[in-house]
């Protein structure tokens, strides 16, 4: 019987290797798999390349992973936040690399990675510094930049509900990068608030089908980043 459900986050991330590329879901704090990232910190892998839209908040989740010196390089679109000193400090000290990618190009490169498309042309960033060194070609009289797929060794994402096959649905704007990261990784691990019986999710409504998910970790009451960060600030 297929059963991808577990309550053991540490075992779920046990296979992450030093040097792996880890895709971490979330936009702001919506969709951040904070408990899985904390398990990864405990697990100990280092020299990681991390893909995330941002660079973490406070000293929790991704920010904590960075603070612990585990991240060699961050691929992201917006490494600034109201509560984001950790990445800033390391970046200014030259102790972490940054590959800055326009947000839509980041999403599309991940989707391409999951869809078996090694490279594609996009109008985004043509004529800007973020196209420096990249192949440019004209289509319909307009410059386009060749961008390459991103694939992860592991994806850590957060969804709302799963069944034992690993079908996922999300909640509101916490969906964001989850579905494309689930596609783009060799091993996808999702944390969810609850699990339901097989067949209980409407098959018309499944957002990430089971084929893209390897393990599901139940985290019924995930930490609120905002509350955590505001508590620290208080």
């Amino acid at each position: 019987m297929i059963n991808k459900l577990t309550e053991d986050a540490l075992s779920a991330v046990s296979a992450v290797q030093d040097g792996d590329t880890v895709l971490i879901g979330g936009f702001g704090e919506a969709g951040n798999p904070t408990e899985l990232v904390h398990a990864l910190i405990e697990q100990g892998a280092r020299d990681l390349v991390v893909v995330n839209n941002n660079a973490g908040n406070g000293e929790i989740g991704l920010a904590r992973l960075i603070l612990k010196g585990r991240v060699r390089k961050l691929i992201c679109s917006f490494p600034r936040s109201a509560h984001g000193h950790v990445f800033d400090d390391l970046y200014r000290a030259g102790r972490i690399q940054l590959e800055l990618v326009p947000q839509g190009t980041l999403a599309e490169r991940l989707r391409a990675g999951g869809a078996g498309i090694p490279a594609f042309f996009t109008p985004t960033a043509a004529g800007t510094d973020l196209a420096n060194g990249k192949e440019v070609r004209e289509f319909d009289g307009r410059d386009h930049v060749l961008e390459h797929a991103i694939r992860g060794d592991v994806a850590l994402i957060k969804a709302e509900v799963a069944d034992r096959w690993g079908n996922l649905i999300y909640r509101k704007a916490a969906r964001n990068f989850g579905p494309v990261m689930a596609m783009a990784a060799k091993t996808t691990i999702a944390q969810v608030r609850r699990s339901v019986d097989l067949g209980a999710i409407n098959p018309e409504q499944i957002v990430t089908p089971s084929i893209f998910v390897n393990r599901v970790v139940l985290v019924p009451t995930p930490v609120s980043e905002r509350d955590h960060v505001l508590d620290k600030a208080a």
Partner: protein, 210 residues
């Protein structure tokens, strides 16, 4: 002597037609949402996977999984939808968003926009700005006419790293509404009490009045 932030937002809002799909940038452009004429239905898009974004909720109804591009809590109108990031940027890059209204550090009269980095030693961050610049059918800008130091933000050519080239269709400032023509800005509307001479002296490119 010039328009207030709310007045600029109201003017920009009045240019949005019924049924338009509109993305509002972080900061001053967000204010436009408050001035959509009540007899028009406009559908707001948020890059993080929302169509039909509604106004801010009361503090008690805030939900950190229902936030806008600026990571602030919002609401969803009836008819709204959620979708993932690749779909969201397909809407932007694919030319489905009718209008986006962005902030600016600099705008040039050839339509170039600079709004993602001041080029200093800070941490660079681009977010969705370049995708919106490249993909929205009509890119519009809301900005103060000058920097805090009083220097023009409307220029012949941008000096900061560009977000996109030849893409700005209209600029709303505290002094005027203008249209980049290639070699100059064409004046569409002047704030009350602002003279043409005053406008010209604080604009870093020629201003055409016809």
């Amino acid at each position: 002597m010039s328009w207030t932030a709310d007045e600029i937002a109201a003017i920009a809002a009045s240019d949005i037609p019924e049924g338009a799909f509109v993305n509002l940038g972080i900061g001053q452009p967000e204010r436009v949402a408050n001035f959509i004429p009540t007899d028009r239905e406009v559908v707001l898009h948020s890059e993080n996977g929302i169509l039909g974004m509604g106004p801010q909720p009361s503090a008690a109804d805030e939900d950190m999984e229902l936030i806008n591009a600026g990571k602030k809590p919002v609401t969803l109108l009836p008819g709204g939808a959620f979708f993932h990031h690749a779909d969201s940027f397909s809407m932007i890059r694919g030319g489905h968003v009718d209008i986006c209204i962005l902030g600016a550090f600099e705008v040039a009269c050839n339509g170039d926009l600079a709004n993602w980095t001041t080029g200093g030693d800070g941490v660079p961050a681009v977010g969705g700005a370049m995708d919106l610049a490249a993909g929205a059918k009509s890119v519009r800008v809301i900005t103060l006419h000058t920097t805090r130091a009083g220097n023009p933000k409307l220029l012949k050519t941008v000096r900061l790293p560009a977000t996109g080239r030849n893409i700005v269709k209209r600029v709303y400032t505290d002094l005027a509404v203008l249209e980049p023509t290639g070699s100059a800005f064409r004046l569409l509307r002047l704030a009350p009490g602002v003279s043409l001479d005053h406008l010209a002296s604080f604009t870093g490119a020629d201003v055409l009045t016809a």
